[in-house]
Assembly symmetry: C2
Homo-oligomer: 336 residues x 2
């Protein structure tokens, strides 16, 4: 949910009895500290409750340098769009918008001691992981295949998120780039539950009370819900993204690497239709975002989502324009 939410959504979810998450992949350590300070202050002001837990989510990819030749080829692909929207590609400031977990972020974790720390794209290097473990945080990470789940258990994580193909946003795969290995949650979840001994949290396509009950039938110890919260008052989902989520177009999502360089699920829009959702000539993660971001900015000013990553899972049935506290209390009834 990086980019679509901050601590406000996490506070509302936590107050309702869920585990609220703060996505840190697009934040600087200073920004994350500010959010955690606000979460803490809100906690202290909330007299009725004990200290509410929070999860902080980090990306754990291996940072790579941008490849100049690859970038040049990609700019050629995008040139017609730059021309159409009056953008001079020479003036685009490059800058990776998503950074992997780092020593500076470990400092923040050590200072705030969040109860749960989760990772996407595997796990950070051992030294950094040990620092997180030493704070007493429960550590969880996403698996998209049985092999990844077994690997994560071997690394000593406390729980595994089984991320079904239905899930919105970035796929968490890290042992293989072969997208054909990605499974629907109905097939993935029970196989991971059988393969590991630690708790498994189901993610992807779960949008309603019935969905939660179904996931629990398949052996989940809990569920992770993203898309259903995108219309919540506390989410930072843009107005254009909200319109798309509530329209017929939300019926058709696809995995695409055009926006960041890694496959992520979003509502199909113009650039995905015209260029193809998955391409081999896209700059590596996260550098692709540098080159599409200016197109997004200019197009959005014209009310167009042609270049906007409209992250969403395959099931938008649970999306409701309401407070996240009420939505969470609604969903939590599945456990009664």
């Amino acid at each position: 949910m990086a980019g679509a939410q901050d601590e406000r959504l996490a506070i509302a979810v936590a107050r309702a009895g869920g585990l609220g998450s703060i996505p840190a992949a697009m934040l600087t350590p200073e920004q994350l500290s500010e959010q955690l300070n606000r979460f803490k202050a809100s906690n202290e002001a909330y007299a009725h409750a004990p200290t509410l837990p929070v999860n902080v989510n980090f990306f754990a990819h291996h940072a790579t340098e941008a490849d100049t030749e690859q970038t040049e080829r990609w700019l050629t692909v995008l040139t017609p769009y730059y021309d159409e929207f009056g953008i001079n590609p020479q003036e685009i400031q490059s800058g990776a918008s998503r950074a992997p977990f780092s020593a500076a972020m470990a400092d923040v974790v050590e200072h705030f001691k969040p109860q749960v720390v989760s990772f996407h794209f595997g796990l950070p290097e051992t030294t950094l992981l040990q620092r997180v473990k030493a704070t007493g945080a429960r550590i969880i990470s996403s698996a998209t295949t049985v092999r990844e789940a077994v690997w994560l258990e071997q690394q000593g994580v406390d729980a595994i998120i089984a991320q079904g193909l239905e899930a919105g946003g970035h796929r968490g795969h890290f042992l293989s780039d072969d997208l054909s290995e990605q499974m629907g949650i109905f097939a993935l979840l029970p196989q991971i539950v059988t393969a590991v001994r630690i708790p498994v949290i189901a993610a992807g396509g779960i949008a309603t009370i019935d969905g939660i009950r179904a996931a629990m039938s398949l052996g989940a110890a809990g569920v992770q819900i993203g898309t259903a919260y995108l219309l919540c008052d506390e989410a930072n989902t843009s107005p254009l993204h909200r319109v798309a989520l509530q329209s017929e177009t939300a019926q058709h999502t696809a995995l695409t690497n055009l926006f960041s360089g890694r496959p992520a699920r979003g509502i199909v829009n113009r650039v995905m239709r015209e260029l193809g959702s998955i391409r081999n000539d896209v700059p590596s993660f996260p550098h692709a975002s540098t080159w599409i971001a200016p197109l997004r900015t200019v197009a959005e000013k014209q009310g167009l989502t042609d270049f906007t990553p409209l992250w969403a899972g395959q099931n938008t049935q649970g999306c409701q324009s309401m407070g996240a506290f009420d939505l969470t209390q609604q969903l939590i009834q599945a456990f009664n």
Copy 2:
């Protein structure tokens, strides 16, 4: 399950209280009649039960002529394999192995009056469909998107099979060839249930009692299970296919059009790895099967599944080497 079972599996399932199916897509009308006669005779010999129902499944694709130029290009792709296995492509007898529902098949339906007739790839033309309806058969067909489900309801089917992306064998899509529209059953099922008023049967990834319960939580009126029956005593699954289903390789299935010309899910094997699972230069359905079949035959004699369509869903957890009667009775406990 065309090719992997005949009326023997249907009889065992029916006796245990399920709705047994006879796949007719690879049968001549005479062969289907023989199977239905044997089903009927078995029924009559089975003194304890009332007349057991049966479902006959047909394909409803639009038959196309093979394209000579396309075939030539495809033969070039396969030439290294023909050379390796000592096959002279000039000697290959072309012949479509899968025929759409026809007037001759409607004759068979009128004669035997199966209680249920199901279709894959949409529905046959109106005249033929009316003939089936007039027999009193309940008609069902597969939907892979919400749009297909709504379309089928408008055509007057009695129930819809929601075929999740996890399912083994041929995808049933018929309104769009865009595979990115295909959804996991966890997302597809509840959205179809909301969109139509007729019963929805869940298919894809359902392999166990827990899986059935989960599907029912998501609004299914029933479930269709295929992969879990592939190891049953009564299935015609080949020994090599059985070995693959029980091995680690079953963890990795993919959609492929190499074997028939239409995307179908099977365990990844040599030809899928080497040529890529989905290609644009494959002859149209069902003509592709003509050109790969001889490779399969020769390779299988050497104990190789390099060219064998190892149809399987993403969840082989339910596969058990046992009688289909016992397996069905086991699964049916989900409804108690």
